[in-house]
Symmetry: C2
Subunit: 407 residues, 2 copies
């Protein structure tokens, strides 16, 4: 008998028929003798509907009240799923975040989980019930409803699995696992049986939207065995996210190719090469709550240097405006920007012990005439920024060069 | 400075525009120096949408989980109204039933309020905030969400007014007060400035749907000053529901004419006139949870009697089936029924001191050739059951005979 936490996202519970299918799947696990805790999101479209309502009544909805409204989406799903379970003879009990209780800080719309009281859930599990918990939400010390931010249901699932010391946390989505890259771009992309937390973190941070990045961090930190599965297929083991590197000698050097289209490049030309200049450039941008991704500073000549960074496309105009405002102050010659950038990354823990990954990547791209504009590396990842029009080509040739389609 | 509890029903908060109008009205009261607690229902249509969802996932939705789902309707409204208030510069804070906390028993879908903790609300009022409370819901001793049953938002409003010892509880609806009768039937119907609790109870129980009957009982019991107003008109004092009879010498004998179309008559013919026979007839009907309204037993002749009662039309077939089943056992000759009945009542505390109301009522109906099938009286009400086709005529002639159109 195992204790399993299962998380079902918005599309998996998108309508009454799908909710009944989730109930059947949960019932099957319980019939096998497992204790099951289910975490659910709002039915797909519901959160957007609620947010639209709030925008109709207030120009800038109060964050506390926004959480009151938006948290109803998951509350509806937990009630419906419990009814569906009871309808097929499975005893079930629902919990809102506040009822669990999942105590968070008071940062409405992006709260962080502080503690989880697992006692009431354990009592219900021991009494033979399936426990259904609303994802994405908690309660603060004042008794106000909080939400964890979009995608927070994954985090709820992992946090509950950690608090309950569950044997496994299963994340059900509309894909059947983590792939070597997006199969829409490379049809030969292969589902991975396992991937390490570190690799998953890099993949998630690079735009692979299977799991919310915070939940992966959380799972890694608390050593929660995490598995990604499809809620629309009955078979398949999905992808297991492991703490340990695979000890298999045949372990590939690269696990996957991640990419992100949402990149824009800014270059500050001819800034004086002196201490503190990076802070003078990036400080005002950070103060405006703009996330800067890649940062490159070239060696100087004649005492001045060029400074480049990437931001999300939606932030580009604002960031350029801020930099134009400080240009004279920092003594820069000009600000240039380019909206049509993309980032492609090869990810794999194997590159720690295999030199030559970078050169192989650069050669592969060069052979296709793809110009690399920026490069950034970490211990298990090499990222390049290229012109967006080469994105699909770059992903395809790298996937082939690193032999990811060979099963 | 007064403490006012205002309750807005589903049509009053039926869309974002109306919610913003409610916010403006609340702001006006606060600007006059009053402390305001607002109780809101779900946006109109929302509760039905949620109930429809539950029926799609389960044949017989579990009552505890039904409350979890349905209570989200009011939760959305409190959040939206608080945002709208803050958007126009009025500090506001929302409370779910559980957050207040409104402690109820555990009778899911029809819970009764046990206690209300007024301390947190008072703190917020004293801090200059408008407090917005979700109607219709509470929490039981186990922390489970409960609902008070349909129309329960009126009860929440009155119960809060009682707990806070509010100066007035204002019920905003889509009508501008309590009328002498339904203006759709009698265009001359007049809005009453005041009506007593007893009269209001009789009017409500007879189908006048302005206020939920439980809330009127509650208000009478706790001496809450209750006022019915329109949420769509800016002017008007509505109708004040008073504990005391109006001491005005010109007080009319009759305050209003109430009616109910949803009546069906059952007659059990030729039952032996012996002790216990009424229980033998009504016991099985009550066991099937069918509410019996009027009950008439005629004097007997030759040791047998006829026994008549009225039930809601929707219950008629079930009730007749039950009585057919016990017919032989109770020794009745036959069961007759008629679906097309209506009840018309004249209501007024004035009839306590004015004899002759009944005879005037019967004479008026007789002059129009309307046959009275059943009669029932209380201290402040006379009801007759007539053929439904005469309903409008009866209401009109009675309204005129008792001079209710004379302002």
């Amino acid at each position: 008998m195992a204790l399993i936490v299962q998380k079902y996202g918005g599309t998996s519970v998108g309508n009454p028929e799908r909710i009944k299918n989730v109930a059947k799947r949960v019932a099957k696990f319980q019939a096998q003798g497992h204790q099951v805790v289910v975490v659910v999101s709002a039915m797909s479209g519901e959160t957007n509907r609620l947010i639209a309502l709030t925008k109709e009544v207030a120009a800038k909805p109060d964050p506390r009240e926004l959480d009151v409204v938006v948290s109803t989406g998951e509350q509806v799903t937990i009630g419906l799923l419990c009814m569906a379970l009871q309808d097929i003879g499975v005893p079930a009990k629902s919990y809102t975040g506040g009822q669990v209780r999942i105590l968070t800080d008071s940062s409405h719309t992006k709260a962080r989980i502080l503690t989880i009281d697992d006692a009431p859930i354990r009592r219900d599990l021991d009494a033979g019930k399936v426990v259904v918990v609303a994802g994405f939400q908690g309660i603060d010390e004042h008794g106000s409803i909080t939400t964890l931010g979009r995608g927070g249901s994954d985090t709820t699932g992992v946090a509950l699995a950690a608090a309950l010391k569950a044997d496994e946390c299963q994340i059900y989505t509309d894909v059947d696992g983590v792939y070597t890259t997006d199969p829409r771009i490379v049809p030969e992309a292969r589902k991975l049986d396992t991937i390490t937390f570190e690799e998953m973190l890099e993949m998630a941070s690079l735009g692979s939207k299977v799991l919310q990045i915070r939940s992966v961090e959380f799972a890694g930190k608390y050593k929660v065995k995490l598995r990604v599965l499809s809620s629309f297929q009955d078979e398949g083991e999905g992808t297991l996210i492991t703490v340990e590197e695979d000890t298999n000698m045949e372990q590939p050097v690269i696990s996957g190719i991640a990419f992100n289209r949402d990149e824009a490049k800014i270059t500050v030309l001819g800034v004086p090469d002196k201490p503190g200049i990076a802070y003078q450039i990036l400080g005002p941008v950070a103060d405006a709550n703009i996330d800067v991704d890649m940062i490159i500073q070239n060696v100087s000549h004649d005492g001045s240097t060029d400074f480049s960074c990437t931001v999300s496309r939606g932030d580009l105009d604002r960031a350029v405006g801020i930099l134009e405002g400080v240009k004279a102050h920092i003594g820069a010659r000009a600000i240039e920007s380019d909206k049509s950038m993309a980032k492609v990354s090869v990810v794999g823990v194997g590159m720690r012990s295999h030199p030559g990954v970078a050169s192989k990547m650069f050669r592969t791209l060069a052979e296709e005439g793809i110009n690399i504009q920026m490069i950034s590396t970490s211990e298990i990842k090499i990222s390049v920024v290229i012109d967006e029009k080469y994105l699909e080509l770059a992903v395809r040739v790298l996937h082939k060069a690193f032999e990811l389609d060979a099963a």
